[in-house]
Subunit: 120 residues, 2 copies
């Protein structure tokens, strides 16, 4: 589970899970109970708040999915990964890179950055 | 000082300062006293240890300098930047990206990643 690819997949699986109960199950399995998340647009602490942030993204982009871009890497308790967000069958207009800090093998803190976004 | 470009410049100035006393002055000015640094190869805590890590890089690469790559960005207390490390007058063989967390406007934690390195 400490392999960067496994962490990246668990992380993006959580972001892609649209069923609230299943999303909370992934959060409970792969994230610390008091995990922190922050990116340029939102921030939350704890699996309930983070689940709500994810739900808000699904509401805003109902047909979009997160997909891994490139190869995650990491060292020690840190993993970084890049992702795209877009329609399942088309070009993804949004890309970002996140740095994940683990604690006891679980996602404990995420700092996210946007690499590409449509002009407003 | 919270501007990403100002943070990135203060950070790389510290890395490029070869005179120990001047480097410690930059560490005192721009970094928390108990700042933490970690990348795939090294880790340190506190300005004395971090100064010693920087000195070790200068010893290993006596003619190399760090240069900013691209445009630093950030949000809240976070800044990310990419850099190259190479001879002042040639192509840089090493590139990386670092995420900096600020506290009270000073560099408090750095997590670094390598983007490009020569094959061993």
């Amino acid at each position: 589970m400490h392999e960067p690819i496994a962490i990246a997949n668990a992380y993006l699986d959580t972001w892609n899970q649209r069923v609230a109960a299943q999303r909370q199950a992934l959060l409970a399995q792969h994230w610390s109970a008091d995990a922190r998340y922050v990116d340029p647009l939102m921030a939350g602490q704890g699996t309930a708040q983070i689940g709500a942030l994810i739900a808000a993204v699904h509401e805003r982009f109902p047909h979009f999915r997160f997909a891994l871009l490139g190869k995650p890497d990491g060292h020690g308790d840190y993993v970084r990964l890049s992702w795209s967000l877009g329609p399942a069958d088309g070009d993804a207009p949004i890309e970002g890179s996140d740095v994940v800090r683990l604690r006891d093998g679980k996602i404990d803190e995420v700092v996210g950055f946007i690499d590409r976004a449509p002009l407003p």
